[in-house]
């Protein structure tokens, strides 16, 4: 008997069709809670295995998407467990909402590589594949961890840390009092805790809202601008920003990482990172910048390589071009207003990526660049990092759990239950918020008790 898991099992792209997969004992239960057939009469739990059903997904009374649902009962499924696949039609946003609805109705978000793991453990895969399965789990996990932390906005991280700090302080206070009742009194404390719970829950609700709006994590096509010093990278960025006033707003009251900017081109969000100019250098500070640029390039979905056409190519350009290998890139042949020192056709041939002539100074060529990006995206060449949606769903589920736990604390306080009951649910909230940051509880509580409260004989 395992938990029931769910995830988006197709890559996210603008194509707008994708599958949400649910696997586990309660899979049929989950789908029956959220599925409605056209006439509203079909009882999805009762249908024969391996059949497809047209209908709608509802989150309570709200229609989320028009879907095809495939029902497959154990053991003849990929994981060997009861499996439901929801074929979503309403685009990326709807797919996200379908997954969230599934999670709200009894499924847990699948861990990295978990479907494969279950398939293996349930004997649906050859034993000789064990090695490969283990590698997949570990690789996916590392990727998920990285993306989870990379994608979480600094401001969100801070907000969650602050809530956790408050919560652990209060758990430690209660526990110290339980541990040393003759020393620490809980007289009048429930009322005080109630105020804390109200306040922190408000913060969690704010985060939940921002996660629904997609503002909690940094979604968008990771775009990195590369180039030698003075090639015109910053002018390009300014130009893109200047033309596109639709900068994605951040959560109120927080500072933004100065290196990162968001722009929206024809409805496509780009997260643009400007980097230090790349050249061989002995200067340590500058070197760190260059290394960081290289790292960013590796993670990027799209690279914009700015070439100063008035200066001949050199070894630094070779270096940059090597970073473009296997990446989606557009080369910007900048400074067309000056006398050319590089032939555009030679550059095109050498780089193996599209080249667009621009002049950041004269503001020409920008429309062509935007068109090009749009074509790449809708042509399916460029896609989001779909892990973003998984991360977001995971975060949201964790926030909802934390929110529920605080509800339980409030109920316990209002119901006049003894204080030791409060800390159990407070701990659940703390644990769930920790999942977002990739932190477990470990010795946090014991450390907090000893560092904040003077107990003991």
């Amino acid at each position: 008997m395992e938990t029931t898991i769910a995830a988006i099992s197709t890559a996210m792209s603008a194509s707008g069709i994708g599958i949400v997969r649910i696997s586990g004992e309660d899979a049929m239960e989950v789908i029956s809670r959220i599925y409605r057939s056209k006439g509203g009469k079909k009882w999805i739990k009762e249908v024969p295995s391996h059949t497809i059903h047209y209908g709608y997904i509802y989150d309570e009374e709200e229609l989320i998407d028009e879907v095809l649902v495939m029902i497959m009962r154990a053991p003849r499924t990929f994981t060997g467990e009861d499996t439901v696949e929801i074929d979503c039609h309403g685009g990326v946003f709807a797919m996200k909402r379908v997954l969230e609805t599934v999670l709200k109705n009894g499924a847990e978000i699948a861990g990295p590589g978990e479907f494969t793991k279950r398939a293996f453990l349930n004997g649906r895969m050859d034993l000789s594949q064990a090695e490969a399965v283990m590698d997949v789990i570990q690789a996916k996990n590392e990727y998920a961890l990285r993306s989870s932390i990379d994608q979480l906005k600094g401001s969100v991280q801070k907000a969650i840390c602050d809530i956790r700090k408050k919560i652990i302080y209060h758990i430690a206070y209660i526990e110290s009092a339980l541990d040393d009742p003759e020393h620490i009194s809980l007289e009048g404390y429930p009322q005080e805790l109630l105020e804390v719970v109200d306040k922190e829950q408000l913060e969690i609700k704010k985060l939940l809202k921002s996660s629904s709006d997609g503002k909690m994590i940094q979604e968008g096509i990771q775009t990195v601008i590369l180039g030698k010093p003075n090639a015109g990278k910053s002018s390009l960025l300014n130009l893109l920003l200047g033309e596109n006033r639709a900068i994605v707003t951040d959560i109120a009251g927080t500072t933004r990482d100065i290196l990162e900017e968001y722009i929206t081109l024809h409805g496509i969000t780009l997260k643009i990172v400007d980097t230090a100019g790349i050249r061989e250098t002995e200067d340590i500070v500058e070197k760190i910048g260059v290394d960081r640029a290289r790292e960013m390039a590796q993670k990027a979905d799209l690279i914009l390589y700015v070439v100063d056409s008035s200066v001949p190519l050199d070894s630094n350009d070779e270096e940059i071009m090597s970073m473009l290998n296997g990446k989606k890139a557009i080369i910007l042949y900048n400074k067309t207003d000056l006398k050319a020192a590089i032939e555009i056709d030679r550059l095109r041939e050498k780089a193996g990526h599209p080249v667009i002539p621009i002049s950041a100074k004269e503001e020409t060529g920008i429309t062509e660049l935007e068109e090009k990006i749009k074509d790449m995206f809708f042509g399916g060449e460029l896609s989001f990092n779909d892990e973003v949606y998984i991360t977001n769903a995971r975060h949201k589920a964790a926030l909802e759990e934390a929110d529920k736990s605080l509800d339980l604390v409030r109920n316990s306080i209002l119901g006049g239950l003894p204080e030791d009951f409060f800390s159990i649910d407070l701990m659940n909230a703390y644990e769930n918020l920790g999942k977002i940051l990739g932190e477990s509880v470990g010795e946090d509580l014991v450390n907090e008790i000893f560092s904040k409260f003077c107990t003991g004989k």
Partner: protein
């Protein structure tokens, strides 16, 4: 030169709280057992606080008693004050604490040991362990004698290379000036056992007739005393009790301490051992909690045989003259005469991750250990481990399955699992917050949780076991009855509800539903319950708690179900983690070092991620 050679089944090294339980368990299970102590006068000695139990520690004693241990019975015979702590809080954190007459406690235990069949008490120092092919075969003593045996239980407490320190005075002795054990550490190291050095401390003892109690608050025991042991008749513990006294330090005390910090061996670097954060010396408290202008001081009698008082809350390793000045600054202690100075003690113990949850060394078959030697602190923690180590040593010799309590079954399980699975950097103390399923692990139901296990092991009598079965039946039947007895919104009902400020009924309900209301209880609704039969108080208590907290209990039971699944997935002892390429290096090293017995235990090792656990599961099922 000819030396003495003897044969035993089990050798227990040490006669403190762990050693006594281990030796009694071994002997009671029919094995020829010998217990060594550096001095028979130090059997079941309480070298620090004069009490047993307290928050979460009381749970340990109740559990130990349910399993057939001795501590609970012994304190019931020798306590001089008793108090149920946290009575205003939930039942999970109610905790019993009793002040002991130290000498009576020690003597009563000694008498029990002496009257136990198969048990030999021997004064002498064990200096060497004899090991062949990874199996223990015996021990050697300082006198040169050899004791061949099938199992050894090490319970050396704070005696290994012990050093007592205050100011610049340092003595190589165990607690209370007793002889230290200076050789065994070397033998352990030769066997490849990793050692730690820990530190703890104790406050001064003061002559009672030099204390001015009029400046202190008197602390009484409970009017109705609850015994520790499930076998003790509650009527037998309704005795006349002694009081404790409460006073406080003040700014002057703190000034004296601050002015002399440079003379503290803790700060001068003379003490190298790691001390516990939960039991800080008064100088530690003053430094770490500088904003607090007073700390509590609890004056507790050492027993009826003496007027010495234990100065709880003021352990210290400051020089003698500073101690004098410091204690005198406390209200009521102005003219106090110090009988025994406060001191810190340093000792050798092991890194407990070298143990299985059975408390047997992974590397040496037949070698078990318990108590402070395993890096814990406290009499109760020690006794609990001693009992488990003794039981398992006996079961192993008998060729029976070993006893492991898991985290969902007992605080003892939490204690041992924490010791053998987590990184411990200080003496480990039990706390209720360490038990994730504490609503289930209450002190009131320790018998229901563990009696059966004690019976199966062979330490609980048939009579006690039958009593438990009857209790279980009565509880079940009564809960069933209350859940199914309907009650209407009649006038007497509404009147009673009104009396307890409870919302009036709109329609019918069950008696159980009424008990669930926070302001009501099993007792409160007695007058509405016409068919109620008189039941024993402990049955009524269980019925009340189980109905009242039903929702919470069920939630925890669900979590336990999940937890049990991972515990049940065993890992073969000889698993070679180097073979599993997909494990991250950190995880591989940790798993190699701990050799967890189950996937559950593996998942609690810091540095092992959920993905590593998945990898491990896949690997195991492919073998």
């Amino acid at each position: 030169m000819k030396n003495l050679v003897k044969d035993y089944d089990i050798v227990v090294v040490g006669a403190g709280h762990a050693g006594c339980e281990a030796a009694l368990a071994g002997a009671r299970l029919g094995l020829k057992t010998i217990m060594f102590t550096v001095s028979v006068e130090s059997i079941a000695l309480m070298p620090c606080n004069p009490n047993v139990g307290g928050s979460s520690k009381g749970h340990l004693v109740r559990e130990l008693d349910a399993l057939g241990g001795e501590m609970g019975k012994n304190i019931d015979k020798t306590f001089i004050q008793s108090k149920m702590l946290n009575c205003s809080k939930g039942p999970a954190v109610h905790s019993l604490r009793a002040q002991a007459d130290k000498r009576a406690y020690s003597n009563a235990m000694r008498k029990t040991l002496e009257n136990t069949e198969n048990l030999t008490i021997k004064q002498g120092e064990v200096t060497k362990l004899l090991v062949e092919d990874g199996h223990i075969t015996g021990v050697k003593t300082y006198s040169g004698a050899t004791y061949n045996c099938k199992a050894v239980v090490l319970c050396t407490g704070t005696y290994l290379k012990a050093r007592c320190i205050y100011g610049d005075v340092s003595n190589y002795t165990g607690p209370d000036g007793l002889q230290a054990a200076n050789y065994l550490t070397d033998s352990l190291k030769e066997l490849g056992i990793e050692m730690f050095r820990f530190k703890t401390g104790t406050p001064a003892r003061i002559a009672g007739n030099t204390i001015d109690y009029s400046k202190m608050e008197e602390q009484f025991g409970d009017e109705r005393v609850v015994p520790f042991s499930f076998s003790t008749d509650p009527e037998d513990v309704q005795i006349e009790q002694k009081s404790c006294w409460l006073t406080y330090t003040n700014e002057k005390t703190h000034e004296i301490i601050r002015a002399n910090l440079d003379r503290s061996p803790l700060y001068s670097g003379m003490i190298e051992g790691t001390g516990p954060r939960y039991c800080p010396s008064i100088e530690d408290k003053v430094v770490r909690f500088a904003d607090k202008n007073r700390h509590q001081v609890f004056i507790e009698p050492e027993g009826l045989y003496t007027n010495e008082m234990y100065i709880g809350g003021m352990s210290s390793s400051l020089p003698e003259d500073v101690q004098e000045e410091m204690y005198h600054s406390v209200p009521g202690l102005e003219n106090a005469k110090i009988v025994k100075n406060a001191y810190a003690i340093e000792y050798d113990c092991i890194n407990p991750r070298q143990l299985y949850p059975t408390l047997e060394f992974k590397k040496i078959k037949g070698l078990f250990s318990g108590g402070q030697f395993n890096g814990s602190s406290g009499y109760e923690e020690a006794a609990a481990q001693g009992l488990i180590a003794g039981i398992n040593a006996a079961l192993e010799i008998k060729g029976q399955e070993q006893l492991i309590l898991d985290r969902s079954e007992a605080y003892i399980g939490v204690l041992i699992d924490d010791l053998v699975t987590k990184e411990n950097h200080e003496p480990y103390r039990m706390m209720t917050s360490r038990a994730e399923y504490r609503l289930l692990l209450r002190q009131d139901n320790a018998d229901l949780r563990l009696r059966k296990k004690g019976y199966q092991v062979g330490l609980v009598s048939e009579e006690d076991y039958q009593k438990l079965l009857t209790k279980e039946r009565e509880i079940k039947a009564e809960i069933e009855r209350l859940e199914h007895t309907n009650i209407g919104n009649t006038e007497p009902v509404q009147k009673l509800l009104e009396q307890y400020k409870s919302t009036p009924l709109k329609s019918g309900t069950t008696l159980a539903e009424l008990i669930r209301r926070p302001e009501l209880s099993y007792e409160a609704i007695a007058s509405l319950d016409k068919e109620r039969q008189e039941l024993p108080w402990d049955v009524k208590e269980q019925v009340d708690i189980n109905i009242k907290y039903d929702g919470y209990i069920r939630r925890q039971l669900k979590q336990v179900e999940q937890f049990k699944k991972l515990e049940a997935r065993k890992i073969p002892e000889d698993l070679d983690y180097e073979q599993i390429g997909s494990l991250r290096i950190e995880a591989r090293q940790k798993l190699e070092a701990y050799h967890p017995i189950s996937i559950g235990q593996a998942s609690r090792i810091s540095g092992v991620s959920p993905a590593d656990i998945s990898v491990l599961l896949v690997y195991l099922s492919s073998k």
